[in-house]
């Protein structure tokens, strides 16, 4: 072993270690920020390791430097601009976009090697080696393409640019996707047989497969899909590692792939969904329209913002249940103003965060943190549930299925078994909602019929703004 090889070996080893520590640290609140920086440092270290290895061995041509600099500057520039500019509410689609580009990168590397075999790999290609080479190129293209188109579709759906087309909810979609999958398999075998041109067929059908698989999946399942696609982009990177013979790439890709799978599993559990039903079940509302619980509401009480303000003023303890609707209305800052007023009046305010509140697990925490809500006021579901009986007022803001008592009481309900917040135990519940439309599951919410529940109809942001006005008139928080 000569010196460049040893240096690269040591740097790679260090980078892997730091990346592992980074992922580990990201799963704890205290260490998360440092861990993220550590991982970023490890990535830059790995680049230094690679470049110094080539400088010490084959050298790097001026021409290569030019293209390296062009690619790096453009990629980093756009990446950092987007990361700085994007609003916190659009976080899920941003992650999807970044992820798709990672998949695209792996795809392009494999495509480049397939069309123009790089010098090293041509020299000593026996049959076995060329087979491995072709298999890893195919896997990298296949997974990379699915990651790219799947992520782009997910992003477009989250942004509202793309809705779920009707035909994708019928059984036809399974047939279409099977055709794409079989076609990819045919292209794969054709490629191994030495027919290089079938690589384009592989690119096209795996891209279509990515679209076909993601398109039927409904809004609230999107985070699970993004997490799964994130795992795929790790697998694509590992496959690219086989293509260019890099252990570091294989380790890092495999780590992200496996960690992504675990995270996907954790998310599914929080939503009481299995991965299989997310991927193949279509959107939940389509299945459950005919099932139980879609009955009419019989005992709805609606009330004005003024009544709501009066009740809040008299309360000692208030629990806020924020949900998807709050994120959509971008009302987190207005909510914070309301709670500030209540706190100034000596009222105890706590936020109950369901594991899948917002548009992604943990997304609500980010949004509330952005609005300066103290971290200690955010309570997780298991911690806050025993508190509801001792609570005077619960404000449900744009949440629906996560406060449906059916999940606990009605074993015939499709929601049965999903962990929910027991808001009905509180003395008074106000549900701020646009109208009587069902939540994501399409199921009637028994909470709305209960005598201690009052509906305040209107857009979350507007209602909260009116609430601030009413509280002002009552002299709350004016001290």
């Amino acid at each position: 072993m000569n010196l460049p090889v040893i240096i690269k070996f040591v740097i790679d080893l260090l980078a892997v270690l730091l990346l592992a520590l980074g992922i580990k640290g990201l799963s704890k609140v205290k260490s998360a920020r440092d861990a993220n920086r550590l991982a970023a440092f490890a990535m830059s270290l790995s680049v230094v390791g690679l470049l110094s290895y080539y400088l010490g061995t084959s050298g790097i041509a001026i021409q290569s430097w030019i293209w390296i600099i062009i690619g790096s500057i453009l990629g980093s520039l756009f990446g950092s601009i987007l990361a700085k500019k994007v609003p916190m509410t659009s976080m899920p689609e941003t992650v999807a976009l970044f992820n798709g580009c990672g998949g695209m990168s792996s795809l392009l590397v494999a495509l480049g090697v397939a069309i123009f075999p790089i010098s090293n790999s041509v020299e000593n290609l026996d049959f076995f080696k060329s087979l491995i080479n072709e298999v890893s190129i195919s896997v990298s293209i296949f997974v990379g393409a699915i990651t790219f188109t799947g992520s782009i579709v997910a992003m477009a759906k989250l942004q509202g640019w793309l809705s779920t087309p009707g035909w994708t909810q019928s059984k036809v979609r399974h047939f279409v996707n099977i055709v794409f999958a079989v076609a990819s398999l045919i292209a794969f075998f054709d490629l191994i047989n030495g027919n290089t041109s079938s690589i384009w067929l592989l690119v096209i059908v795996s891209s279509l497969l990515g679209i076909g698989v993601t398109l039927p999946i409904g809004g609230a399942d999107m985070p699970v899909v993004i997490s799964l696609l994130n795992s795929y982009s790790g697998i694509a990177a590992a496959a690219a590692g086989f293509v260019v013979d890099s252990q570091l790439l294989i380790v890092a890709g495999a780590m992200v792939g496996a960690a992504g799978l675990i995270l996907t599993q954790v998310m599914c559990k929080g939503m009481n969904r299995s991965l299989v039903s997310v991927l193949f079940g279509g959107s939940l509302s389509a299945q459950s329209t005919a099932s139980s619980g879609s009955g009419e509401y019989t005992n709805i009480t609606s009330c004005s913002v003024e009544e709501c303000a009066l009740t809040l003023e008299a309360a000692n303890k208030v629990i806020i249940v924020p949900g998807y609707g709050l994120a959509v209305a971008q009302a987190q800052h207005t909510l914070r103003e309301v709670t500030k007023k209540l706190e100034q009046n000596g009222i105890e305010v706590v936020y109950a965060i369901h594991p899948v509140a917002g548009r992604m697990p943990g997304h609500m925490n980010v949004l509330l943190a952005e609005a300066d809500v103290p971290y200690e006021q955010l309570k997780e579901m298991d911690v806050v549930n025993p508190d509801f009986p001792a609570t005077d007022v619960v404000l449900v803001l744009g949440a629906n299925d996560v406060v449906n008592p059916q999940a606990k009481n009605d074993s015939s309900s499709p929601l049965y078994g999903m962990p929910v917040l027991d808001v009905q135990e509180a003395r008074t519940v106000f549900v701020i909602k646009r109208g009587m439309s069902a939540g994501y599951s399409g199921i009637k919410n028994d909470l709305f019929d209960l005598p201690n529940t009052s509906m305040v109809f209107g857009d979350a942001k507007k209602v909260l703004n009116d609430l601030i006005g009413e509280l002002k008139d009552l002299g709350v928080g004016e001290k």
Partner: protein, 97 residues
């Protein structure tokens, strides 16, 4: 590296990944996903290798460069956006009285 040892690397890397995140508080799901996503941009190393080994082949240089751009978009953007999210959690303790 022989193919078999690369397979070992793949296996051990996967096992490590499975073990790394056992318990994650829901608060961190989004940042963790975003951070892991940035790491998956490690494929930038493959793009770099492609460019270095292109030996003046212009189409290959261009493919490599575009690939590197996509990967760095993923890496740089991913780490920045994760940091932005995490900054909101960590500034909390200093804000309270």
């Amino acid at each position: 590296m022989s193919f078999i040892s690369l397979l070992w690397v793949l296996l051990l890397g996967s096992l490590l990944g499975l073990e790394l995140i056992g318990k994650v508080p829901p608060t961190l799901h989004t940042p963790l996903m975003s951070g892991a996503n940035a790491i998956s941009g490690i494929t930038m190393l493959a793009a770099l290798t492609l460019i270095v080994k292109a030996e003046g082949n212009v189409p290959l240089l261009i493919i490599g460069s575009v690939s590197l751009g996509f990967a760095l978009f993923n890496v740089v953007g991913g780490f920045f956006v994760t940091d932005r999210m995490l900054a909101m959690f960590s500034r909390k303790p200093s804000n309270k009285k």
